[in-house]
Every structure is written in C-alpha cells, then in structure tokens.
C-alpha cells in the first residue's frame, strides 16, 4: 500500500512482497533491480529492527574485530532510493494465498502479485529443563550478539553448547571479550561434520591453547537457574555441573518454514522449490535462502544463496531464463589465525560405510607445526579433503573434487599442492592473514591485499567471481586463488562453494563448452546463426567470449564446410598481426625451423627502413619480430617481406623451435633442423583451441627446450622421443613423456594425430597441458598409441583440414581478410 502520493502518475506496476529482510532475499531484490528496475512495487517485511546486514560477520562483531555499522549491507537509504516500502520489526503472521495478501502480527497488510519467502532458519534449541531461563540464548541475529556482548561485560562464565562452526565462533568471540568459556559437545571431536578426528584434535589443542575449555562427548541434562530466574549452571548426564552465567545454544539450525507451512506450502526439510526457485505448491510464490529446500538440500552458505537469488531474479523479471542446479560446498572456519578447510567425503574409510574398503587416503601430519592434511581417494578420483593449518590449496583440491578428474598421473604430487604440479607462477605465500596491505596478491594484475580488502568491503563482494570482476585479482593465471579466497573469508565471510562442475561458456547460454561442441558435431551445425537458433542462444549475435569459441568449434568440426567468420575472431586473427598497446601492430614472418638466409634478412632490413619500423626483436621462438607497424602499412609490409605468415598472432601453430642438430653439431645424433622444418611445413596454418608450440632437439642435451612445448621431440641415437603437454608460459609445466618412435614419418604421424585430437576435443582457450590435465594422459595414450587405425585416421583428418588452407598474408579472398579494415575513411 503506497503511503505517499506519486507526483507523476505511473502505469500500474505489479506488486512484489519479500518476507525476510536478510541476505538471500535482499540480494535477490538487488539482482532484480539491476535487470528490471521498473517492474514491481516492492514491499519488504523484516522481523528484526535492522536493515539488511551481513549475518556471517556477526562472529567478527562478537569478537570485537568489526562493528555493527560495518556489517550493514543495505542502509535504510538504499530502500528509499529504490522506492521499496520497508516494514522493520514486523513479523509476518499469515499468508492469504486466495486474496494474495500477507498479514503481519501488528495487522499491517500487503497485497502481492508475486511473493518471495526468505525467512532463513531458526536455531535448534535443546529440549532440556531450564532452556527458557534468562541468559540462555541462541546465536542467530544482532540481538543475540548484543546480548552476548552485554553479558560478557557483566558476567564471567559462559557455556556454549555445540562444538560446530557456529559454536566455536561464538566461544572464540566470548573468550576474546574476557569470559571463561567452556564448549560442550556431544561428539567425540570438534566439528565432526567437517573434520576427521585428527584435524578435530589439532583444532581443539589450538583453541585450548588460546584459553577455551572443552567437554567433549558430553550430554547436557539440565540448565539450572538462580532465584531470579537467570541461568547459573549447566548439569551434565554424568551428574557433574559447571557454572554458567550465559548459555549459548549452537547445536544446529532448522529451516524456518513455520509461515510457509501455515500457508499450506509443501515443506520437507525446507520449503520445497524447483530449479526456478518457485514453490512447488504455488507458482506465484518463490523461496530462496536457508528456508528453501532445493533437490532436498537447504543451503546455509552465502554463495549458493546468491546463485539462487540471481536465478530467482531472472524469473521475477519475467525473462524466464536460468535454472539453479545446486551447488557443491565446502567449509572454512572464521576464527582469525586458524586455517581449516574441508570438502567432500573427508572421512573416507573411517566413515565405515558399505564400500569403506574402496577408499584410499593420503595423509600428511605434522602435529608440532600444527599442520594436517588428508586427501581421500576413491576409484582414482579425489572425493574428499580435510586440511588444517595450511589451506592454500583448498580451492585446487575442491576443483579436482568437483571435476571428478582421474588423478593417477598426479597422485605422487597431489599432497604437495598445485604449486608442485608445475610452477605456481610466483612466490608461494600461503597465509593471507600474514600479509601486509601493500603486499601483492595477484602478480598478473598487480593487485595488493589492501585493494582487494577495500573492494570487498566497499562494493559488498562475497564470491570469488565478484572479486575477480571488480579487482581483476585471480582473474588471469589463477595461482593466487587460494589467497583471494582466504581474504574473502576474513573480510566478508564469503565462502567456498561453486556451481555444478558444468560451467556455461558465457552469459549467452547455459551450455558448457563440451555440450556446445557436441551439439555442433551431432547436429551438423555449420554456421553461427544455426548455432544461435538450434541452441537457443540468449543474445542475437553472441558476445566477445562465446563468438570466437563458436567460430573455432565450427571450423574445426566441419573443415571445408563451415565458413570462417572474421568478425567473430579477436582483432589479432582478424588483422593477421598482433595489436600493441598503442594500437600499432607487430609482424612476425615465418622462418621454417628457425632457419633464415641473406635474402630474407635483406628484405626484412629494407622493410624496416622503408616503413620506419621502430623496433626489431628476435623472439623466443627463433624468429624476427617487427614492432610498431601501422595498420595501414600491414598489407605492404607483408608483400615486401615476401615470407609466409608466422601466425604469431593466432590460436594456431606458432613456431617449431630447433637446435642445429647433426648437420653441424658435434654432439648431434639426429637432423633436428630438418625434422623441425618438416613438422612446421606439415602443420602450419593449423588453427587450434589455443596457441601451439613445438620444438625439436637433436640429442638429449635438448637445446631446443622440448620439455616445455605442446609437442616436444628429442632425437636419440635410436630414433625420436616424443613429449606432450608441456608449457613454458603462465604455468610452467614439464611435458609428459609420450612415446618413442623410429622414423621422421612416425614423428609427423604421432605429433599430428595428437594435435588433431586436441583440436577436436580441447575447449577453446585450453592449452594442451590443460586439456591433458582434464582428460588424463592415459586417455590420450589410448587414443594415439594403442589405437593404430584411430591414430592414422586422426592424422589423415588433420592433413585433409590443412590441405589448401590459404596464407592470410597473401591469399586475402580465400582467407576472408577484409581489406577495408586497413584504410581509414
């Protein structure tokens, strides 16, 4: 009911009512206002007298590390600016689904066209005598937190019932406020739902050393009150008693479905919702957050709730797109100075389940240093991880776990973390808390700890993706992901969790790279427009992320049939030169196997003079780079140099680096230069998911550095060794030994077949090292080494695809080079 008169009459808008002014509900409104700001008149009911605040940060408030003002997410002015009618301190008592109206306890009503329920959860209160005494509270909201802060100022003894995440955070906060705190826990060790016994024991020791007391495996029998009706002691089943002026119940939470149930909405461990977050009972009513049960799960972490909010918003906005398909979650504890991570089936064999014998465990334990790591493996896949003391690899393990990747080939290094599988890229910090604000977290984009924390606070970021978008930290090579997640945890309380392992290519579709590629092959799609139509693309002509990928999938799946679309290629591949920071270009002609001669060098020198090219540089791939060429000069530069395109600008075969080899070298056993030239001539003009680099060395001294190339060849006395999946770039990766062959012809066939497999199966922008790490080396070996006919077929396919491909520097028509781009108007 609008209370003020609008000055200008507006068209009748639909009415949206939100019950529950918490993080999930308000985030849904934010998402909705972003995409459809004018669609609804919005009314919000909140039972608490506060605007939306960050509930996860109540623990730091209790611990005195943050203030209540700091954790407000949406101040009252936000509601005003967005024209939202806000009813604070009003609990909704009834939903009248026939009249489409909600009624609050004080009689306030609001009519709705659509209703969003986000009532969160309630703490579970132990049914013991004395539970209604003064000084017995749950730990859920600002009022509870304030009561604990007040109690800490007045009283001495606190008892926290529940040794889980919430209980320990409460206990830690009360202790920091000067109370003597005992944690009473039914289980044999702390956080038994997140930790195994050993990690739980380390945690207990660490917290005990800080001053907490513990009563494990202990059941509470009664709370005893004094004459004024305030709690004074806790009595246990064994008859013993300890003093308590404050008792905090933190023994779990239950989805708050009272209101929904009274309205006849189907509830089962939460309000049952579909993938569109609509209740199954009434399509006008949606539910998000801790109160909602999606596929039987009620999530209690912030990232899944926000994902739900995003999907729900698109449906409220009547776009009708997006499905929430569940999240996988993992746990961290917000106690400053304690690093703990767990995910998946971390108990493994100890869980005693029916197939307990199928679990294998890798354990590293250093109790004195306070480090414990356990990885649980089943069927050659990582299925669980439990880390204590050093959690920087948590996100990597979490990724392996979600992807279900076979780990046989990295098993021996698994425990030592991602940085030991090749080089992590830069210095190995593993504790974000120990870093200074001015320390750099992300070396790729030069982002400091201070600027990340500032962005998290000021822009209200919660998830890794949001931090990446706003700060660019962890958005390039990803080696600092673990650190960024730690910062997120301590600054915003954001959590580890992730959408299903299937990741959409971009916002234009919900399909993954694999699904799109399969559809292009299975349904014989040969043009972009066909893809958009057949696969229900949400945008008329894609975006800068999906279009280059689609274009590659089309031309690699249907060679000679699908048409290349230059406007779907990034600038370098459209202008066949590499754009520089000032908008000029670089030109790198092809030098077969890194060999050149006087006439090529003379032509290059003349071109440099004629076009006043400011920089000439020898590249790492044994070629010559002319830098600072004006776009309008490119065509003439190519013509005057008269050498083939080096494709140094393309996701394609770059160079084949060679050493001198047996022709000259006194150590050489094979003619590596000739082998390199043959490979380069056979493979040039080969577009691929990403750039491809080869090298051929003539003897095991390996001067051409074959060990860090996509395909590396090393000549030995009896033939050639082939290596695959090496990488010298953002993530140094040593190539895997692949096989040994006898003849140059076999080198061509095996290398070509491997590259064709990668061209067909690699996702766009996936290097061979990432491709192999996704599918596993064993799979590649099976396809290339064990299957002779398959290998020959792949090699034939590649030759067919490359046959007659144009040189884009000369054959403009066939290479579809639009010459208009080179002239200004």
């Amino acid at each position: 009911m609008p209370e003020t008169m609008e000055e200008t009459p507006k068209p009748q808008r639909q009415r949206l009512v939100l019950v529950g002014n918490g993080m999930a509900g308000v985030r849904t409104l934010e998402e909705l206002l972003k995409i459809a700001p004018e669609l609804y008149d919005i009314t919000v009911f909140g039972a608490e007298p506060h605007p939306n605040y960050n509930r996860i940060l109540l623990s730091p408030v209790l611990a005195g590390e943050q203030t209540l003002e700091e954790i407000i997410l949406n101040p009252l002015s936000w509601y005003e600016e967005n024209g939202i009618t806000l009813h604070l301190g009003k609990q909704v008592a009834k939903i009248d689904r026939v009249r489409r109206q909600v009624v609050a306890e004080d009689g306030t009503t609001a009519d709705y066209d659509r209703l969003l329920i986000a009532t969160g959860s309630n703490p579970f209160i132990l049914p013991v005598p004395g539970k209604e005494l003064d000084g017995v509270i749950a730990y859920r909201d600002i009022a509870d937190t304030q009561e604990m802060i007040d109690a800490a100022a007045k009283y001495q003894h606190a008892v926290v019932i529940g040794g889980g995440l919430l209980g320990l955070e409460a206990a830690n906060g009360l202790m920091l406020r000067g109370m003597q705190v005992t944690v009473v826990h039914l289980g044999d060790w702390l956080m038994e739902r997140q930790l195994d016994d050993q990690a739980g024991e380390l945690l207990r020791k660490s917290l005990q050393a800080r001053g907490l007391k513990f009563r494990l495996a202990t059941q509470t029998e009664a709370l005893i009150g004094d004459k004024d009706g305030r709690v004074m002691a806790v009595r246990f089943k064994d008859g013993s008693e300890i003093p308590a002026d404050l008792v905090v119940m933190a023994a779990g939470i239950r989805p708050n479905t009272t209101l929904a149930e009274s309205a006849g909405l189907h509830c089962k461990r939460g309000i049952v919702v579909t993938d569109t977050l609509q209740t199954v009972t009434d399509p006008r009513i949606y539910a998000v957050g801790e109160c909602a049960a999606h596929r039987g799960i009620a999530y209690g972490l912030v990232a899944p709730l926000f994902e739900q909010g995003k999907v729900c918003a698109t449906h409220l906005a009547e776009f009708g797109i997006g499905r929430y398909q569940g999240s996988q979650t993992s746990t961290k504890l917000k106690v400053t100075g304690i690093d703990l991570f767990s995910a998946g089936d971390f108990m493994g064999a100890a869980s005693g389940g029916p197939d307990a014998d199928k679990f294998e465990e890798i354990v590293m334990s250093d109790p004195f240093a306070g480090v414990y790591k356990k990885l649980v493996i089943k069927n050659d896949q990582l299925v669980g991880a439990c880390l204590y003391g050093d959690t920087v690899d948590g996100s990597w393990y979490f990724k392996l776990l979600r992807d279900g990747r076979k780990i046989a080939d990295i098993r021996d290094k698994l425990m030592f973390g991602e940085s030991n599988i090749g080089d992590g890229g830069h210095q190995g910090q593993n504790k974000a808390a120990a870093m200074a604000d001015s320390d750099e977290v992300c070396g790729c984009n030069g982002v400091t700890k201070g600027s990340i924390c500032k962005a998290i606070k000021e822009k209200g970021l919660f998830t890794l993706d949001e931090v990446r978008k706003h700060t660019k930290a962890s958005a390039s090579c990803g080696s600092c992901t673990g650190l960024v997640e730690q910062l997120l945890m301590f600054t915003a309380g954001g959590d580890y969790s992730a959408a299903p392992k299937k990741k959409a290519i971009c916002g234009c579709t919900e399909m993954s790279h694999q699904e799109v590629r399969d559809a292009i092959v299975d349904r014989h799609l040969t043009a972009l427009d066909q893809v958009y139509t057949a696969l229900d693309w949400k945008s008329p002509n894609g975006c800068a992320t999906c279009r280059p990928a689609l274009n590659y999938y089309l031309i690699s799946s249907w060679p000679k049939e699908a048409q290349d679309d230059p406007q779907s290629r990034a600038i370098n591949e459209r202008s066949h030169a590499n754009i520089q920071k000032d908008g000029s270009y670089s030109v790198i002609p092809r030098m077969w196997g890194g060999e050149t001669n006087s006439s090529e060098l003379r032509r290059i020198a003349d071109v440099v003079d004629k076009y006043q090219i400011p920089t000439v540089k020898v590249t790492g791939g044994q070629r010559i780079d002319l830098l600072g060429v004006k776009k309008e000069d490119l065509v003439n530069v190519w013509k005057d140099i008269g050498m083939p395109s080096g494709h140094a600008y393309a996701k394609a075969l770059r160079t084949v680096k060679t050493c001198v080899g047996s022709e000259w070298c006194r150590m050489g056993t094979q003619d590596s230069t000739q082998m390199g030239k043959d490979l380069e001539r056979a493979l040039w003009r080969m577009y691929a998911p990403h750039k491809v680099k080869l090298a051929v060395s003539g003897c095991p001294r390996n001067c051409a550095e074959s060990g860090i190339k996509d395909v590396g060849v090393i000549g030995v006395d009896s033939g050639w060794e082939l290596y695959v999946g090496g990488n010298g770039g953002i993530k140094t990766e040593v190539a895997h030994f692949f096989c040994k062959v006898k003849t140059p012809q076999e080198v061509l066939e095996y290398s070509g077949a491997f590259l064709q497999l990668y061209r067909k199966e690699g996702w766009y922008l996936e290097r061979t090292c990432h491709y192999i790490s996704r599918v596993g080396l064993d799979y590649v070996k099976k396809k290339i080494l064990d299957d002779h006919e398959g290998r020959q077929a792949l090699w034939a396919e590649l030759q067919y695809a490359l046959d007659g491909e144009p040189d884009p520097w000369f054959d403009f028509d066939k290479a579809k080079v639009d010459l208009r781009q080179f002239e200004a108007l």
Binding site: P540, C543, A570, R574, Q580, K581, D582, G583, A824, L825
Partner: protein, 126 residues
C-alpha cells in the same frame, strides 16, 4: 552549425564490424555497425587504456575493447559494469543509406588528446 558530413555508405562498414574515420585533428572516430544494422560512432579510444575500440568485437549494441576486453556500450560510450568510465560519442545520421557525422563535432570533440605512446620513445634515456 548543423552541417553533416557524408562519410561512407552503411554497407561500407562490415556487419558486426567497424571503420575508422580520420579527422583533421585528434584521435580517430570509430564507426560501428551492429547486427541490427544500426550505426554508432565513438571516439576510437577505450576509457581504460585508450585501446582502439574500432578493432574490437562488436556484439549486441556493444564492443569489447581489443586490449583488455572492457565492454563499451555503443549507444552511450559507457563501460559496462563493474568497469567504470566512458568515451565521447558522436552523432550519426543515416541519409539515403549514407552515414553522416556532424562536422562541428568532428572538429571540436576530444581533439587535444595525446596518442598513446609505445616503443623506444617510452624508454627513459640512459
């Protein structure tokens, strides 16, 4: 003064592509043609690090800068969230299939911006 200068035919701009317009003074102007056959003109300079927007990928009514992938809205010249900033836009008139720009805007808008420098000229003398 509202004198309009004819630059080229609409078809001279590739669909989902762009052309650059040289001015007497100042950075070039980029003309874009969208899939819906609309034409827009922006200063050929990303608000981030002055990348030439004309070289980017055009999609919907936006262009992705070729240097660091900022998305710039063609209608407003504004960077899409979470990035911030904007680049000047130029009025476009289509007359009988011909693309026209306003001569006064061409002569006055953003004419004194320094071009980005790269190469040996950026190296401190040693």
């Amino acid at each position: 003064m509202s004198d309009w200068k004819t630059i080229c035919a609409v078809e001279d701009i590739p669909l989902l592509g762009s052309r650059r317009v040289q001015r007497a003074q100042g950075p070039q102007v980029a003309l874009f043609r969208t899939g819906a056959n609309e034409v827009f003109a922006l200063l050929d300079r990303c608000p981030h690090k002055a990348g030439p927007l004309s070289q980017g990928i055009v999609f919907g009514a936006a262009v992705a800068c070729p240097l660091h992938n900022w998305t710039i809205e063609l209608a407003t010249g504004c960077a899409r969230e979470p990035d911030e900033g904007s680049t000047p836009r130029f009025s476009v008139r289509i007359d009988n299939g011909q693309v026209q720009l306003n001569q006064q805007e061409l002569d006055t808008v953003a004419i004194d911006l320094e071009p980005v420098k790269a190469g040996p000229c950026t190296r401190a003398a040693c």
